[in-house]
Symmetry: C3
């Protein structure tokens, strides 16, 4: 194992430190509701967002980016076209990319599109249980996750009350987080962007995906201590990501 579980909080701290030093650019093709919050979460973590979805310039933005996020939350023709161009460019330029198949469980054309994108080998996949089951066409138990990750040569980051990260061989469960995370729009989308940012500075996609989910979960718990509701929570978790350090991570990460 390249990233033993007991060391993951330290690995997470190191990845966050690299983000703050290197300031990688993460190009995001993401939905209209999530764009601003995603950009702010990336900036708080040390990364630099770019967000254009215009087909005529998306390749130029991706070619020089350090990672790519493709989020299907706004499913218009422009974004679908931009996603295909961006992914083609990312593969050509060896830019790692993450797929977030938002709400594919509610719309068959989205499911079909997400499945077609899986053939283009995302380095990581961040989604919830309902989205996973729509995408995989089956259950989300550990064996199924392992098979799916192996088949698609990807890392699955399945978020929920407990987050699971699987790359086909290695698996961890992250028990951090807070119910208020489900009361702020775009929180999952921002988490997927953080996976992309971590991929920009960490060659092991399993460690990168785990680090992003651990960071979000621990930051959520820090934020909940100060928040009085979902409005202040949304602000506090951005501050918490900005301030997250090794000591807080090792004291609070609950990884199995």
């Amino acid at each position: 194992m390249r990233a033993p579980q007991r060391e993951l909080p330290i690995v997470t701290a190191e990845i966050l430190e690299r983000l703050r030093e290197r300031r990688p650019r993460v190009h995001c093709i993401t939905n209209a509701v999530a764009q601003t919050y995603t950009a702010n979460m990336l900036l708080a973590a040390g990364a630099v967002p770019s967000m254009t979805t215009a087909p005529k310039e998306v390749r130029a933005f991706v070619a020089r980016a350090d990672a790519l996020l493709v989020n299907l939350g706004t499913f218009d023709n422009e974004r679908q076209k931009a996603a295909l161009l961006a992914i083609a460019e990312a593969r050509k330029a060896h830019v790692p990319w993450v797929l977030d198949p938002v709400f594919i469980d509610r719309s068959k054309p989205r499911t079909a599109f997400a499945r077609s994108l899986m053939t283009k080998r995302p380095n990581a996949l961040r989604l919830n249980r309902a989205e996973y089951e729509a995408l995989a066409g089956g259950k989300s138990d550990r064996q199924a996750l392992a098979d799916f990750a192996r088949k698609h040569r990807t890392v699955v980051g399945l978020t929920g009350e407990t987050d699971l990260v699987h790359d086909g061989e290695r698996q961890i469960a992250v028990a951090n987080g807070h119910p208020l995370m489900a009361r702020v729009t775009a929180m999952g989308c921002a988490g997927s962007a953080l996976v992309a940012a971590c991929l920009a500075v960490e060659p092991d996609p399993f460690a990168a995906t785990a680090a992003a989910l651990i960071a979000m979960g621990v930051a959520g718990e820090m934020a909940a201590q100060r928040a009085r509701g979902p409005g202040s929570f949304a602000i506090e978790i951005v501050d918490a990501i900005y301030n997250l350090d090794r000591k807080t991570l090792t004291a609070n990460a609950r990884i199995r």
Copy 2:
């Protein structure tokens, strides 16, 4: 009268409790500026937002939604098409819907479109005085409001310094609120979304509309006590909606 005025604070508290228990999904076709704040206000109130405006999937989202909001603030071709499809589906599936004719007083094509939507019988209408006068083509005194509500078989929620709610027979005035509410973009839009959420759990559209406006007004006053300006006010009112309870409502609602 099904909802006597002295009981409305309690009715409001009960509707908010039902929102938190049942977590209805509210589909919003709303403007680009308001999407994120609207989603966060709905989540704070206990509802679940969905926001797609893609014509190819909007019917599927509306068919299984518990309420629909149509907000005309972004007046592009896609959203107009989506609005028509969504409303047709809502009527077919008996999903209650709310119209928010944003800025129709500033643009004749919007006025014409809003008038055409009135023939599709929104369960409620949330708008300000200038928008009402553009839509109705006349004054906004009590008698005119009553006639308009009766003619269109809808509930009018007219917001301003004092909010008026009229269904053609019943009328109330809500004297709650705070000037900072006019200093945050999308506050009215978020209020309309809350009307839709209340319609999802309350069969009487007069009570639902009144409850949403009472909740916003009282939450605005709670928020203003903590805010230092419109930035913090926008956050505090989301927290206040999340925390609003029967005691605060009965102590603070000013209904005539």
Copy 3:
């Protein structure tokens, strides 16, 4: 000199007071990521935003606006078309306008479009060093800035660690601001919108541009004193703009 440097903090305070009294409407054709934050910053300053980008109604919105902002951050066909219509209307109706050529250094079609807009004589230009160098096709030293401003009969507001304002004859440097301003998305875009708002109430475009950048810089320093990270900073600076007064400006502005 119409606006001697030692008086600029007072001129800034006076312009802010006029904004709060007159409440000018600023029409913004701006990018999807920046729309909400820009609207909230304008409202905090006392201005009233409108944001439509629909070609069929943009002329009607601009004709009666008090200032126009054209921001190229979202480079789609609709916004390009809307920008051209809006600028034509602004020139016809003598509405002052500001160009913010976001990210033109990263995309050749944006550079070409921004250059074509320069021929339509924006009253002011707000941009960073990389964007300026892409637009001007050369260096950003003081002499080059002066020549560029003179040639295009515009005011250049070049923001960075120190902001420079040049109109071809007069120049000032504003040393206010805080590093957290670069950690919040749309902060520069919101600053450009504030330039437009100031142009609506101040006939001297040099004073208007300087006032907006001084106000943002001082508000940023006030906000940083209270913020715990970029999340709370983004909120605090909106409150700071709302509360900014003559005393705070004269005590804190650092103008050379």
